[in-house]
Assembly symmetry: C2
Amino acid sequence: MSAKRPTLADVARLAGVSTATVSYVVNGQTHGKVIISEETRQRVLEGIKRLDYQPDARAKSLRAGSSQLIGILIPDMHNPHYWEIVEGVEEKAHQAGYELLLSCTSLALHREQQAIDALSRRRIDALIALPSFPEQSRELLQAMAARNYPIVMVGNDFIATDTVVTGYEAQTRALMAHLLGLGHLRIGFVFGVGSPALGVNRWHAYVSSLAEAGLPVDETLVDRCGVTIEDGYQAARRLLAQPQPPTALLVVNDLLAIGVLLAAAEQGLTVPDDLSVAGFDDINLAAYLNPPLTTVRAHAKEIGREAARLAITRLGARTLPVQHVVVQPQLVLRASTGPAPG
Amino acid sequence: MSAKRPTLADVARLAGVSTATVSYVVNGQTHGKVIISEETRQRVLEGIKRLDYQPDARAKSLRAGSSQLIGILIPDMHNPHYWEIVEGVEEKAHQAGYELLLSCTSLALHREQQAIDALSRRRIDALIALPSFPEQSRELLQAMAARNYPIVMVGNDFIATDTVVTGYEAQTRALMAHLLGLGHLRIGFVFGVGSPALGVNRWHAYVSSLAEAGLPVDETLVDRCGVTIEDGYQAARRLLAQPQPPTALLVVNDLLAIGVLLAAAEQGLTVPDDLSVAGFDDINLAAYLNPPLTTVRAHAKEIGREAARLAITRLGARTLPVQHVVVQPQLVLRASTGPAPG
DNA sequence: TTGAAAGCGGTACCAA
DNA sequence: TTGGTACCGCTTTCAA
């Protein structure tokens, strides 16, 4: 019970060799040359097995200067969109022998800054950041970058570093064109974001699409709400209860659209006959909603993969010029949008 | 550019004191007694600010013997149910000054064992484990426990340690009673689990409820499928396409129920008039599905909180007798279940 | 009230 | 092919 964890020294003692030798064996080889005799190797391996020795990652990391840890900062663990990004990161990171240290900031500025700090203290090798408050956290991130932490920013380019961004603007326009083409004149927006920075691209495209179509931005058709499904549900209820309700609703992400769909059903509206609904991200379940949701696919997993790729590349080539990757989203038309009623 | 990260020694040099002194002020006080003069303290603080010093968590952990890290192992990051558990753990852990190291095993045995190993090497202070393969991973877990790692098992008690379990059996029975009471005689089961261990409790209760009602287990009403929404969708399609389709469907978790609901809608079936559907877990979005889903609420967040509480308690009292906590689930009746058709 | 120094568990250089 | 050992950055005892 309570046996002390064995160390290199314990193994060395048992095998009758030095700690250096054990270290060599554990790490396979040094600089590509196998320098330990097979006999010694076996003896050491035997000792490792006997003691069930597991190297201490902290010590190794401290001495070796690399933690083999990639930190990732996401805004909110309630939105599957972010998990999908994490999944992509994880896939690539594991392939390259890195593990992930995940931090959720729950859309609170102080939590975000805390998290960045904590990650930095853990001496992660690189950071993949999806900050909720890129402007306010900019300084912290800059400071890390100055310390030679490779940082990949996802979704914005507030600091001069490797980035992967999506082109949501263009696809928001395409979505608006789709809706306008279906004859919708009262297109509302359920704009539930945890921080202003997180939705600007969609908002701008919404406004300018409206303008180009000669339509005003009708603030009675816009609801700035919170980030939960319930928030989306309540927002849609408010919007749809008005004397002049919208005939189509953009929802800032698919998660909120779930609530919107239910609100519509509860008011006796059929989607898309009475109301068209469109989301963003194309989270996994978007295709399984009732009706399946028209949305803009972000390619979340690919975003994650790209981010990891950039981080890992940077780790091996600090002086490479800054890289910018754009993962182009894609309009996915499903059954939740249709011709304007009437 | 590329500035080396400052260490205690750098701060000490700048402030003209020893590293010990810096360590004292960084940690506030030693053993409750403030022993550093205010003047020195200020000088050190000044140096810390100037250099933007951040202690190295690895070194601290190595020397101090505690990583302030609680590891948590979950089967699958696609199921919100697990995230809700993580949320509960995080809440309590943070309160107590611990951070979380999260590992998803993607329902693969080798990934699970890898993850346990990795967590162990990182020298987490405690492990909260939701293993997908409790039997196969038992030995590994036992080995950790023997090394004095506090382990909290969630959802099963395959090793003798602190546990938190849910009483899904009883509530599955209650759910079956509800359905039987509504006149359903052909109750099917969409049984999509990543590993046998993950669903036994529900399965057993299903079988015995049927038996008690004098009904046979009709294997044509049971579909053992995968764990994704798509799997649930396909399973429901198969089940409903039969000549003698079920009139009610138990779905092993709410996530799969999403797919089931869509499959039903596509076949032109109205839920609950033509088909009753019930899930498990009561994930957040269950209440927002169309129709809102009857389910068994696991109280996921509470499970997480309890697990964290157990772990933290254990950290402070190694010799306490083993604790077992039961978080009682609760039947939540919503609109997806109703009287048997006909 | 402060400092010197011995480690925590590894890695890797230099010698043997 | 192997061993001795300095050191990674921090904590903590013991002395001053």
